[in-house]
């Protein structure tokens, strides 16, 4: 375990991020024109990277089962459409999702650690995590303590990630930075490195409960971080932008960014996920348009 001073020294020694330049680069990547065959492949890849998500206070077993059915067969009219990457639910509904997805090959991801605020005693966060893992979650999406991070208590953030990772056992750990609360790109870079050093398998932008959620420049900085982390340590960490990605066009911009910033190695659901819900139907609509040449109205796609 590092000391607080070591952590601070390391994180503050990372090269800074110039905001204007980062915004410009992300916008430039957004001008890539992805057409025809490239678009078709990108759409299928994006579907396979989706963490199809429902995180509402009003979630029920019925809602989760319906979502799982959609995850397995997103477009009944096009059976060749790939299945999604995972289904993401609250920890108390993990069991329902696991049952619904049994045999499908789709894993269940669970948010935990007093999502979304993370304002609970560590013991409560760990109990939340253990319950989700015991119910069969293959992936845990934890939140960091943004208060501690902004107060400069990097060690507390680090320790909580380490403890949660331990509680995960074999489950993969995604660490949500909630970049909309960290605000600066320097903070995003530091939080990314902090999470990776503490053992994160994935770093994730947002809970989806805070605006702004995922943005292209923030995701780009995280992609730079996983690239540099692999160069430095040999360990490969995944990235998950979540929240605010609603259109195929946006999703493809993220894939272009993965391709050109982190590199093609990250273009797999094992290392890049998109947390979204309404995005799936737009991807399916564009997919059917490419296959048939015409747009089908929104009622031709299921709402679950």
């Amino acid at each position: 375990m590092p000391t607080g001073a070591e952590l601070r020294g390391f994180l503050h020694g990372l090269p800074g991020v110039d905001q204007v330049g980062a915004d410009e680069r992300a916008a430039r990547l957004g001008t890539r024109s992805i057409k025809t065959t490239a678009k078709a492949r990108a759409i299928d890849l994006a579907i396979s990277m989706l963490d199809l998500t429902t995180l509402e206070g009003a979630d029920t077993a019925g809602k989760v089962r319906a979502l799982c059915a959609k995850a397995v067969r997103p477009d009944p009219a096009q059976p060749d459409a790939p299945k999604v990457g995972a289904v993401c639910v609250y920890s108390d509904l993990v069991g329902v999702a696991v049952d619904a997805l049994r045999g499908s090959g789709i894993g269940v991801a669970s948010v935990a650690t007093a999502f979304p605020a993370g304002r609970a005693p560590l013991e409560a966060k760990l109990a939340d995590t253990r319950a989700a893992v015991a119910a069969g979650a293959a992936e845990i999406d934890m939140v960091i303590d943004r208060g501690a991070f902004l107060a400069g208590d990097y060690l507390k953030v680090h320790e909580e990630i380490v403890e949660t990772k331990r509680a995960c056992g074999d489950a993969h750990l995604k660490v949500i930075l909630e970049t909309g609360e960290l605000r600066t790109y320097d903070n995003v870079r530091r939080a990314s490195w902090l999470a990776m050093r503490a053992g994160a398998d994935f770093i994730k932008t947002s809970t989806g409960k805070i605006s702004p959620a995922a943005t292209p420049p923030v995701t780009m900085i995280m992609l730079e971080a996983v690239r540099d982390f692999r160069d430095a340590t040999g360990r490969t960490v995944g990235v998950k932008p979540a929240g605010g990605i609603r259109t195929t066009k946006d999703a493809i911009k993220y894939l272009v960014m993965v391709n050109e910033v982190a590199g093609p190695d990250w273009l797999t659901p094992d290392l890049f996920r998109i947390g979204a819900s309404s995005l799936l139907n737009d991807l399916l609509m564009q997919r059917r348009k490419l296959a048939t040449g015409v747009y089908s109205g929104p009622d031709h796609f299921t709402l679950d």
């Binding site: 090269p15 800074g16 991020v17 110039d18 204007v20 330049g21 980062a22 410009e24 680069r25 001008t31 890539r32 024109s33 992805i34 057409k35 025809t36 065959t37 490239a38 678009k39 492949r41 990108a42 890849l45 730079e224 894939l255 272009v256 391709n259 050109e260 093609p264 273009l267 797999t268």
Partner: protein, 476 residues
């Protein structure tokens, strides 16, 4: 997964290239009496059109038309009326932006992403900006009623054909001058389309005259007794000839010449953005940029890390069809320029610098040069001293801030420089020490019509853009 981008070509159908073009004199296209020449598509070497060449009589005719328009129409016209024409031209440029961008990319070889997102928007912005000055010249700091000079002879280069036209024509017209402009021999088409835009805007005859031809036509224009002002953008060698021609006359002269800009990266720089800045500095427009950051000065303590990142980034540059929307680096403008770049790059190798390019498949036809990096470059190497005007970056290192400034200034040029550091005080310190007309901090190759641009030393004199750009066309 290998994410191969499918071809995404911008359509050529939006442009209508005629088989031949005449000279635009006194509001109409007329025949030239010199030997016509062809302009090529540098990405395929296909001829695009036959272009008239102005001989001495044609130049006389154009200058006489400009003089008439100056004395009878444009000079006496109130500024607020001139402004209306300039606003109209600016709006037509926006309306026809796609056509202009595609034509520029076809004739010049630059990627459509740049002609569409950089060149043409800046062209419109320049006309809008100077349109705003036309009725406010009394408030520009040159006295209550500053007067125009008369007829301006303007000679522009091939690297930004339409943008250099805008830099020349917009301030000249706003201040009440008329112009005879000669575009470069290899890139005349957008200037001739601009002539059509002048007709469409119903600009009075003779206010803008565009004569095409090679160096000889340019020499006749700048040496003509009927002009009051010479504005030239191009090589330092030609600029010196022009200065000699103009010496001893009453002609006012502005020269915007070559450069060998230093892009200085300090050890506390935002490295990822610095890498982007280096790429924008030298690979923007195939490096055909007078203010290109062609010398990278990097602090030795971060040199290895920076170069690793830069090489990775260079590997993602897409070289090829200028009209493909995903192309980052297009074609070299001419066979002559390609030969010059090759010669200098070869000298870099023979003088002992280490050459590197990312793997990249260049098209079989056309003029192409892969993005290239030289490390181990010394100040004494030709590639550190001479302007290459191509996608070739020379990397030098330094140990202390003073050494960086010393090396940056150790060049006969002084057009631009870049400083990369997170320390604000160091930016101000470096900007004060650097002898360059433009110093960019944590960015590079940024242009704005409100910002003056111009050189120190052999990079020329006079400023274009902003309020400063007005004085070059006023009798002050």
């Amino acid at each position: 997964m290998d994410f191969e981008y499918a071809p995404a070509p911008e359509s050529r159908s939006v442009v209508d290239i005629r088989p031949s073009y005449g000279l635009f004199v006194d509001g109409a296209f007329t025949e030239g009496h010199g030997e016509p020449f062809k302009t090529l598509d540098p990405s395929s070497e296909e001829p695009l059109a036959e272009i008239a060449c102005a001989d001495a009589a044609d130049v006389d005719r154009a200058v006489a038309a400009a003089r008439r328009a100056y004395e009878k129409v444009w000079g006496p016209m109130p500024g607020r009326e001139r402004a209306k024409y300039l606003y109209r031209i600016a709006r037509i440029i926006q309306e026809r932006s796609r056509e202009l961008a595609v034509l520029e990319s076809i004739d010049n070889g630059k990627p459509i992403r740049e002609s569409r997102d950089v060149d043409v928007p800046l062209v419109a912005a320049h006309f809008f900006y100077y349109a705003g000055w036309a009725d406010k010249l009394g408030h520009a700091g040159f006295g209550a009623d500053p007067r125009p000079l008369g007829v301006a002879g303007q000679v522009i280069p091939w690297n930004f054909p339409l943008l250099m036209l805008a830099w020349k024509i917009a301030p000249a017209l706003a201040t009440g001058n008329t112009v005879v402009l000669k575009p470069a021999e290899t890139t005349p088409l957008t200037a001739l389309l601009f002539a059509e835009i002048c007709q469409q805007a119903e600009l009075p005859d003779g206010v803008v005259n565009i004569i095409t031809g090679a160096g000889e036509t340019g020499r006749m224009l700048v040496g003509h007794d009927g002009i009051d002002k010479v504005a030239f953008t191009g090589s330092t060698e030609v600029g010196k000839q022009i200065a000699r021609t103009v010496a001893g006359t009453s002609k006012k002269l502005t020269l915007e010449l070559g450069g060998k800009a230093a892009n200085i990266v300090f050890d506390d720089a935002p490295l990822d953005q610095a890498v982007e800045g280096i790429v924008n500095a030298i690979f923007f427009n195939q490096g055909h940029v007078c203010c290109a950051g062609s010398r990278l000065l990097v602090q030795e303590s971060v040199a290895d890390e920076l170069l690793d990142r830069l090489k990775t980034r260079m590997g993602t540059l897409r070289v090829g069809d200028p009209l493909d929307k995903n192309t980052d680096v297009g074609a070299i403008n001419s066979a002559e320029q390609l030969a010059k770049i090759r010669d200098l790059a070869d000298s870099g190798e023979s003088e002992g610098a280490e050459r590197w390019s990312p793997p990249c498949d260049l098209p079989q036809r056309g003029f192409w040069f892969a993005p290239t990096l030289f490390t181990g470059v010394a100040q004494s190497h030709r590639i550190a001293r001479e302007e290459i005007f191509g996608p070739v970056l020379s990397v030098l290192t330094f140990r202390t801030p003073d050494e960086a400034i010393e090396k940056a200034n150790n060049t006969p040029y002084g057009l631009s420089a870049g400083v990369w550091t997170e320390k604000g005080s160091r930016i101000l310190w470096a900007a004060e020490k650097l002898r360059a007309g433009v110093v960019w901090a944590n960015t590079f190759n940024k242009f704005d019509p409100a910002s003056p641009f111009g050189g120190y030393k052999e990079s020329g004199h006079g400023r274009e853009g902003g309020r400063h750009g007005l004085s070059a066309y006023l009798n002050v």
